[in-house]
């Protein structure tokens, strides 16, 4: 039985939200827990997606590889590559002022995008990589999207419980101490740079995992698919709307904002003629930008605020 109509859309919607959920859990570790501003989420997402594509596709003349590796191996290598990129950036910037990380990451996102566009031997350039396969392809009877949804949900659950465990562990406490006051954390004998670097690399590796899940989902990727809007800005809005620092909030934010985003598409398509479709994109961007400002002004703690075991002193 081929899924169609509403159930098919629901499966698509949930899978997409799940991939965003993984991405935002990674961002929540960096921003929510540690207070690091990563404006280059797209970079780690892209590296993950491309690594996955190159590692798992069948051998071809168009780009490096493909190496035809199994799905799970591809995911692991995707995480390692994104983590390695984060390690390099973190090593340079994490010792310095917090805003240098933001500047460096927004720069690296642009450079990675140009790199993927221009290095044809590696990525097939603007033509992108095709025929990225999902596991259990050919399971038949339209079960494929459903199986993939289950895989994505499993990944979300795994990352969620691992991060919740980490949050309660001494490691998580140090990260929050860093976020609140670096000097106090340093005075307690914690190596600031080590903890910062671990958190940044782990968060970015999780973003790489999200990228690795994204590539087979669409089976085609190209540099144009990873705009700053989709891969950096929306995740930020989702996290801030849901509740920075709270993993439940991060997931709720992914659902709510993706719902809002999809609704604006539907609404605007009702109003604006098809000939002005690029303008509709700008209008949605404007709306989501305004939404972020409204949240920052009126509910900066998000839908589900971070919970503290003890009251925060003011």
């Amino acid at each position: 039985m081929e899924l169609s109509g509403f159930p098919a859309y629901a499966v698509f919607f949930l899978t997409f939200v799940g991939i965003y959920g993984v991405l935002i859990l990674g961002l929540n570790l960096q921003w929510g827990q540690t207070g690091q501003v990563n404006f280059g989420v797209a970079a780690f997402f892209m590296v993950g997606a491309y690594t996955m594509a190159i590692m798992t596709t069948a051998p071809t003349e168009d780009h490096l590889g493909g190496f035809g590796l199994p799905f799970v191996v591809g995911l692991i290598i995707a995480m390692v590559m994104s983590g390695a990129l984060a390690f390099l950036i973190g090593l340079i910037t994490l010792r310095l002022r917090a805003d240098y990380l933001a500047i460096a990451t927004i720069g690296i996102a642009e450079i990675v995008r140009q790199f993927l566009k221009n290095e044809d031997w590696l990525t097939n350039g603007v033509r992108g990589i095709t025929a990225i396969t999902k596991p259990f392809e050919g399971a038949g009877a339209g079960a494929e999207p459903l199986i993939y949804l289950c895989i994505v949900i499993a990944a979300v659950a795994l990352v969620f419980f691992a991060l919740e465990r980490l949050r309660r562990a001494p490691f998580g406490r140090v990260l929050r101490a860093l976020r609140e006051n670096e000097d106090t954390a340093r005075a307690s004998g914690k190596s600031i740079v080590n903890f910062q670097l671990q958190s940044f690399v782990l968060g970015s590796a999780i973003m790489g995992l999200a990228g690795g899940l994204y590539a087979p989902f669409f089976s085609f990727i190209s540099p144009e698919a990873f705009t700053n809007l989709f891969a950096t800005f929306l995740p930020w809005v989702m996290l801030i709307a849901g509740g920075s620092g709270n993993n439940y909030g991060a997931l709720l934010g992914a659902v709510v904002i993706w719902l809002v985003w999809s609704l604006t598409e539907w609404l605007i398509n009702q109003v604006i003629p098809a000939s002005m479709v690029t303008q509709a994109g700008a209008l949605r961007l404007l709306l989501i930008g305004v939404l972020l400002q409204v949240i920052l002004l009126f509910r900066p703690q998000g839908l589900i605020p971070e919970r503290f075991r003890f009251k925060r002193p003011h």
């Binding site: 340079i92 140009q114 404007l286």
Partner: protein
């Protein structure tokens, strides 16, 4: 000769980055947050120039100051609506807000003027031949305009009371406040000046290349690199940083694809961050 020609292109691009970097460095030093909307303020300025010069057909000497003034007002408006209210929270929130403002401005420009490239004036501009070098009149306008803005900003910071207050606040905001400086007023002036200079650099950028909704954002990394190169809050350092980055970007095209120009700015920024994170000119009094 080819190298001298490239040097000229580098100086033109460098002047644009230098002026934009100066404004960013100034506001960064006084307001203490990295304004990620700065690149898109350039875009806004360029399109305001487009309205006055191309659409309304006013001469450039009218359109240019008007574009600066309108961009200044837009910048102050953004502060009054958003940044002023967020100033009580942590600086990082302002950072995120400015990232959102950048997208709002870009989306606004695209809604108003469409996603395609535009130019100020159609037709081919014939370059002057000077001893085997090709120099366009617009190159002279850009470099001349940049020098005028640098001198103007220098006089403003040195000679006027507001300028001195701005430098005082950049050095030490708390000290400035207890000396009786009205910090809110200084902030308003900083946005006005920063916005006007950003608008000017946007018009320069549009004269040099074309108008496009992401034109300013594409230059943002180079502008930040220039500001960091010279040391945050040191506008004069950003001039040096901007020129070096502009020249390095143009010369890099001999070796690597022009698509990697942002990577050159990034590489210079990384080198500065590794070896002299406080900036090249830190310690020099402004």
């Amino acid at each position: 000769m080819e190298y001298v020609q490239t040097l000229i292109y580098g100086i033109v691009l460098g002047s644009i980055i230098a002026v934009a970097g100066m404004a960013l460095s100034l506001s960064y030093g006084i307001l203490r947050f990295a304004n990620f909307a700065h690149g898109d303020l350039l875009t806004a300025g360029a399109y305001f120039g487009f309205v006055f010069f191309t659409l309304l057909g006013w001469p450039m000497y009218v359109a240019f100051p008007l574009a600066m003034a309108v961009t200044a007002c837009l910048t102050l408006g953004i502060d009054r609506v958003l940044f002023q209210r967020l100033r009580q929270s942590t600086p990082v929130i302002l950072l995120i807000s400015s990232f959102g403002v950048a997208l709002i401005v870009r989306a606004g420009v695209q809604l108003a003027f469409g996603p395609d490239t535009q130019v100020y004036a159609r037709g081919i501009e014939f370059p002057m031949q000077v001893g085997g070098l090709r120099i366009k009149p617009t190159h002279l306008y850009i470099v001349g305009g940049a020098i005028a803005i640098v001198i103007g900003l220098h006089l403003f910071l040195r000679r006027t009371k507001v300028g001195k207050a701005m430098r005082a606040m950049s050095d030490n905001a708390d000290l400035a406040r207890i000396s009786g400086i009205d910090t809110e007023r200084v902030i308003a002036w900083t946005w006005l000046i920063g916005g006007a200079v950003a608008g000017a650099s946007g018009v320069f950028l549009a004269m040099d290349t074309q108008l496009h909704p992401v034109m300013g954002f594409r230059l943002l990394l180079a502008i930040f690199a220039a500001a960091i190169f010279g040391g945050i809050g040191k506008p004069y350092g950003a001039i040096l940083g901007g020129l070096i980055i502009g020249i390095a970007e143009e010369f890099s095209t001999f070796v690597i694809s022009p698509a990697y120009k942002p990577a050159v700015a990034f590489a210079i920024m990384v080198l500065v961050l590794i070896f002299r994170p406080q900036g090249l000119l830190s310690g020099v009094k402004t």
